[in-house]
């Protein structure tokens, strides 16, 4: 039996994976063409990079929520760790490495490493807990990261890099630059994030998650999700695999944070608060837990939607809330679901089969 046979056995899954890659590539080509032919409005063009970042966030959170079955309410925390460490790296490299794409790539890698480390530190206590308790602790960590970054100062001068907490006591030498300025965050960022870079990151995130899911680690993640006790009984190391999923997810979120941050000239820690964590969770839940394509589409739609609702100005967030509630009711209530299915001739035929 060859690998081809092995993939054939997983035909349905494989088809979904290739469909996901295909749609992302197609969407990229379309957007890129539209963008270069000035077909896209400038506000839409400005949203391309954030959309990519949110897509990566959705894919990475899906690894924790959908694949590993743990609710995390602090994912934006990893994004902010990545944003701050990534931007700081890019600024430090500005003189040494004038080639922006390389600087961006290195910044994203460093960001991923910092976020992974944060994920590891947080994972040690978090992963010992279960269910709603785990959720509240991730929420707590998200808030702690925000508080710390809001009070963190980092500067660089000829003497090297200096840090301080709460107040700026870095005492930089003349010609030095205060990079992270507590609640003021980082300003004067060179906007080196580009849409192609975002696209590549989305593809990398998808590749990492898909390939991981279809490996022994992925089987372990899902086995632990489906039945923790049975998973232990077949010798799976629960802590190790939970940690692996958590850290991988954090690393991807970190890279996304760096991409996101370098699309703006200023970044502050408050941008990555509880509401952002929830927003990303909404992408995952609306797209379907474990469904990467769904999460990606939800991320794109829900990032564009508030913009498109702008004509309703004051009502837009209200509409957003109503859409959210109605969507959840429509996709989860048995009666409404069967009513919708009756309206849909394709679904009906599928069920008959």
């Amino acid at each position: 039996m060859t690998m081809r046979r092995l993939i054939n056995l997983k035909r349905v899954e494989a088809r979904r994976i290739y469909l996901t890659y295909g749609i992302v590539i197609l969407a990229y080509i379309i957007c890129q063409t539209m963008s270069s032919t000035k077909f896209l409005s400038s506000s839409m063009r400005g949203m391309l990079v954030p959309i990519c970042a949110y897509m990566v966030m959705a894919v990475s959170l899906n690894l924790v929520v959908g694949i590993s079955g743990e609710l995390s309410l602090g994912h934006a925390g990893f994004m902010s760790v990545g944003a701050f460490s990534g931007v700081a790296t890019a600024i430090l490299l500005q003189k040494v490495l004038p080639f922006a794409p390389a600087r961006l790539a290195i910044a994203m890698i460093v960001a991923a490493m910092f976020a992974a480390f944060a994920g590891f530190l947080i994972g040690i206590p978090v992963l010992r807990l279960k269910g709603d308790y785990l959720a509240i602790v991730t929420l707590a960590f998200g808030e702690i990261i925000k508080s710390i970054l809001n009070n963190f100062y980092m500067g660089v001068d000829s003497g090297g890099i200096h840090f301080s907490m709460l107040t700026d006591t870095t005492r930089l030498l003349k010609g030095g630059r205060l990079i992270i300025k507590g609640p003021m965050g980082i300003s004067g960022i060179q906007k080196i994030s580009t849409f192609p870079a975002g696209f590549i990151l989305v593809m990398i995130a998808l590749m990492i998650v898909f390939n991981l899911v279809n490996s022994r680690s992925g089987r372990a993640f899902m086995a632990i999700r489906d039945d923790r006790i049975a998973a232990e009984s077949i010798g799976l190391d629960i802590t190790k695999y939970k940690m692996m999923a958590f850290v991988t997810s954090a690393a991807l979120a970190g890279a996304a944070g760096a991409l996101f941050a370098m699309n703006y000239s200023t970044i502050v820690a408050n941008k990555f608060d509880f509401n952002t964590s929830i927003l990303i969770l909404v992408f995952v839940v609306l797209g379907g837990q474990g469904n990467m394509l769904g999460g990606i589409i939800a991320a794109a739609v829900l990032t564009i939607l508030p913009e498109k609702l702008r004509q309703f100005s004051d009502y837009r967030m209200l509409l957003y809330a109503i859409i959210l509630i109605v969507m959840m009711l429509a996709t989860n209530n048995a009666e409404i679901k069967s009513f919708l299915n009756r309206l849909n001739p394709f679904k009906r035929r599928e069920e008959a089969e």
Binding site: L9, K10, N211, N214, S215, R216, R219, S233, G235, I238
Partner: protein
């Protein structure tokens, strides 16, 4: 399949083993095992030895503590007293995962499959500890990933074929019929290469013909893998037919041990199941 009577021999330390296993170290030896759950001594003074290739039945009325014994052996509960020696090794301080790696695999009374995984992935999940490739190989699909995945897939199908389930390999485990789910649990347990297999009511909810098939399958597994099996079962025809030794529990205590014939005629066992005969 005709059943040949197992000859038992006594060995020192107050225990008996099948003749064929007598000269070898027992796979499992429990000494004074006990646990207190919520103030109640759920299992007490459990002394039990299982030969390397023995099939033993663990029977007793509901609530006698049979599943608790399984939970103690697999460290779902930590024993409050006593020692468990697995292949001569004390399992003190081990957790469920380590006990499995040391050689105990089990099934559950209430089926615990990985419902959203396919049948073959349920089995492959259990082979995780045989695989060596790391995360990077998986993400980059390096040659060792492909090699090991193919080998695991082959072996999983082979194991499934013992129970005639190779054609269901791609079905979602949660959507299997009940009997097949029970069989899959056994395959999954076998995939971890155990030296001792614990089956918790494998025939529960099965009709007589399914039970007969199951019996053949358990014999087949026993012959192929030459492992020890302990099974908890209420279906006495299955227990008496398949088990070489039987241990009877009641209220957390062992009330009888012996061959099926001995157990069938043991007054204490009859009393435990049927109650004391009224003095005429």
């Amino acid at each position: 399949m005709a059943k040949s009577k197992t000859k038992y021999v006594s060995i020192p330390s107050t225990t008996i083993l099948p003749e064929r296993d007598a000269s070898r170290e027992p796979v499992l030896k429990c000494v004074n095992l006990g646990i207190t759950l919520g103030g109640i001594k759920a299992v007490e003074d459990f002394n039990f030895t299982v030969g390397r290739t023995e099939i033993v039945g663990l029977i007793g009325p509901n609530g006698a503590g049979k599943t608790t014994v399984f939970n103690l052996l697999t460290k779902v509960y930590q024993p409050t007293t006593g020692t468990i020696l697995l292949n001569g090794r004390d399992t003190h301080g081990m957790n469920t995962m380590q006990v499995n790696r040391a050689g105990i695999a089990r099934t559950f009374q209430n089926i615990r499959l990985f419902k959203n995984l396919s049948v073959v992935d349920n089995v492959k999940a259990a082979m995780n500890n045989d695989m060596r490739y790391n995360m990077l190989s998986a993400i980059l699909r390096l040659p060792n990933y492909r090699r090991e995945e193919i080998a695991a897939h082959r072996r999983a199908l082979k194991l499934l074929s013992i129970f005639d389930m190779q054609d269901m390999a791609d079905v979602r485990a949660g959507s299997l019929p009940y009997g097949a789910q029970r069989r899959l649990e056994i395959v999954r347990a076998l995939a971890t290469n155990p030296s001792l297999l614990l089956l918790d009511e494998p025939a529960a909810g099965m009709n007589p013909s399914e039970t007969a098939d199951l019996m053949d399958n358990i014999r087949k597994v026993h012959e192929m893998f030459q492992i020890a099996i302990i099974l908890i079962e209420h279906d006495m025809s299955l227990v008496m037919n398949i088990c070489e030794g039987i241990c009877v529990l009641n209220f957390g205590h062992v009330i009888a041990k012996g061959t099926p014939d001995e157990i069938q005629n043991n007054p204490a066992v009859i009393e435990a199941y049927l109650g004391r005969r009224k003095e005429a």
